[in-house]
């Protein structure tokens, strides 16, 4: 059920992309720019293929994703637990609200030296930074969703006999799922960007290296085509997560329920 206008827009966007790619290729081959820092589309393509066939790019990507997912899961779960405690009393709520506002001001990267002191040089540092990136915005959207919930749903839940944790899982979570998904979307985007930056600074962890490190190594070799190839992979992952994860989840939940 794609509307005509959407189809038209899609076509225009596609044509624009093709023009940019062709323009890029022409520029790169024209001799007007440095081919080293401005590699042609074909050489980026080659770098991409080489990355996957000879340089285990998939492993770098999967390693980054595994760190990210572990951090996301921990961050989201903690955000849920803390936010649920906030439902107990206004005092807990106001304290946690303050903690959230303060911690949200600290850039993850600034915590790396401290985290290294606490956890040594290993994966746990990166996961810690990812958790830090996710937990505060996620808490914000959970608390926002919970306090904006339609009171009638909560009262109905209580009439049916729900209390405490069951009220949260039975009413609060499904009733605010739309907000929660936006929160997770925001948390993921933040964590993914942050993760790549941290990998460049932090390097390998002993148990593996991620896509940020891959880009960094390409830079030391002045392999610009390789750097662009890694960027394309990062963009593709973003697209896959948006369309195959978030939009699918939304279609199977809030859209199906008529809650958007």
């Amino acid at each position: 059920m794609i509307e005509r206008q959407t189809l038209k827009n899609l076509r225009a966007q596609l044509i624009f992309l093709i023009i940019v790619i062709i323009g890029w290729q022409v520029m790169s081959n024209s001799g007007m720019v440095n081919q080293l820092t401005f590699p042609s589309v074909t050489s980026i393509g080659h770098a991409l293929v080489r990355g996957f066939t000879q340089e285990n790019m998939a492993e770098y990507v999967l390693y980054s994703l595994s760190l990210l997912i572990r951090g996301l899961v921990i961050g989201i779960l903690l955000a849920f637990v803390f936010s649920s405690f906030c439902m107990i009393s206004r005092t807990v709520y106001s304290i946690y609200n303050m903690v959230t506002s303060i911690c949200d001001l600290i850039p993850g990267v600034a915590l790396i030296p401290i985290a290294m002191g606490w956890f040594g040089i290993g994966e746990s540092v990166i996961i810690f930074i990812v958790v830090h990136g996710v937990i505060w915005p996620m808490s914000r959207s959970i608390l926002g969703g919970f306090s904006g919930i339609n009171r009638m749903y909560v009262e109905e839940g209580k009439i049916f006999g729900l209390k405490g944790a069951r009220l949260i899982t039975g009413v609060y979570l499904p009733a605010t799922l739309g907000t929660l998904i936006s929160g997770i979307r925001m948390g993921w985007a933040r964590a993914w960007r942050g993760l790549i930056a941290i990998e460049m600074i932090f390097g390998t962890t002993g148990s593996g290296a991620g896509i940020g490190w891959y880009i960094f190594m390409k830079r030391t070799n002045l392999n610009y085509a390789g750097m662009f190839a890694a960027l394309i992979v990062i963009i593709l992952i973003g697209i896959i997560v948006e369309y195959l994860v978030f939009q699918v989840i939304e279609r199977k939940t809030v859209v199906k329920w008529g809650m958007v």
Binding site: M152, I159, G161, P174, W257
Partner: protein
């Protein structure tokens, strides 16, 4: 005399939004026997919703409210509530799941029982074919019928209804009134039904109460007009006039 289902004694409610806020209800007494369909009329803001919310256990109060002898200290499935709002069904559950949910909450796990009890109630409101629909796919009248089915599924001691038909068009409202009255007879329900509509209260109620602006009971009448009531029924005109005049004296505007 029938078993007393609901006993309200010296009920006083003050929301205490400010130090000098007035009592919404003060020293209200009310007794409802099992199987009675009680309609409550009254001008806007007189405390009708407040009264049913106290009975539902959704507000704290002074005085006593007892249901089957047990003091009301909080909400529970023995006092199900049907709201005016169409959106009272959980949008994330299908019609069937909505009706089953109170049973699940109360520990009924048997799939067979869940299904048969929910389907029985859906049949009662003529919606058995819509079991797998989501609420947003239903009309307002259908949603209110599902809410009634859901309200009945735990066989509550009292069904509390706060203007459930007020937002419906006249034709749908008449249909739902007839349906509700039929179900009441079949199940011997005890119902407290709030309405603004005198005609509705005469069509539905075995007994009709009118509250005034101060949250006091101004009129308390038995409705002996044989069911089904129509405007041609004997005594309808007199009854209507009685409440219409009383409503004029309650301080209601217009």
């Amino acid at each position: 005399m029938n078993h007393v289902r609901l006993q309200v004694e010296r009920l006083t409610k003050n929301y205490r939004t400010s130090p000098d806020s007035a009592d919404i209800l003060s020293n209200l007494d009310l007794s409802v026997p099992e199987g009675e369909f009680l309609c409550i009329l009254g001008p806007s803001g007189c405390g009708k919703t407040t009264l049913v919310r106290c009975i539902a256990g959704l507000e704290d109060y002074e005085g006593t409210i007892r249901v089957d002898g047990n003091t009301v200290t909080g909400p529970g499935p023995d006092r199900m509530m049907v709201f005016q709002d169409y959106n009272q069904l959980f949008p994330w559950k299908t019609v069937l799941k909505n009706v089953q949910y109170p049973m699940k909450v109360n520990g009924i796990r048997d799939k067979q029982e869940l299904r048969s009890r929910a389907e029985e109630k859906l049949k009662m409101v003529n919606l058995q074919e819509y079991a797998d629909y989501y609420p947003h796919q239903l009309s307002g009248g259908m949603k209110q019928r599902v809410a009634i089915a859901r309200g009945l599924v735990m066989n509550p001691g009292i069904l509390l209804m706060d203007e459930p038909f007020a937002a419906l068009d006249a034709m749908t409202r008449n249909k739902l009134q007839a349906e509700l009255r039929r179900i009441k007879e079949e199940e011997n329900l005890t119902v407290i039904f709030i309405t603004h509509n005198i005609q509705e209260s005469i069509v539905l109620g075995d007994r009709i109460i009118m509250m005034d602006k101060g949250g006091r009971i101004k009129l308390d009448e038995r409705n002996t007009i044989p069911k089904p009531v129509s405007p041609d029924s004997e005594g309808y005109g007199a009854m209507w006039r009685l409440f219409e005049d009383a409503l004029g004296d309650t301080g209601a505007e217009g």
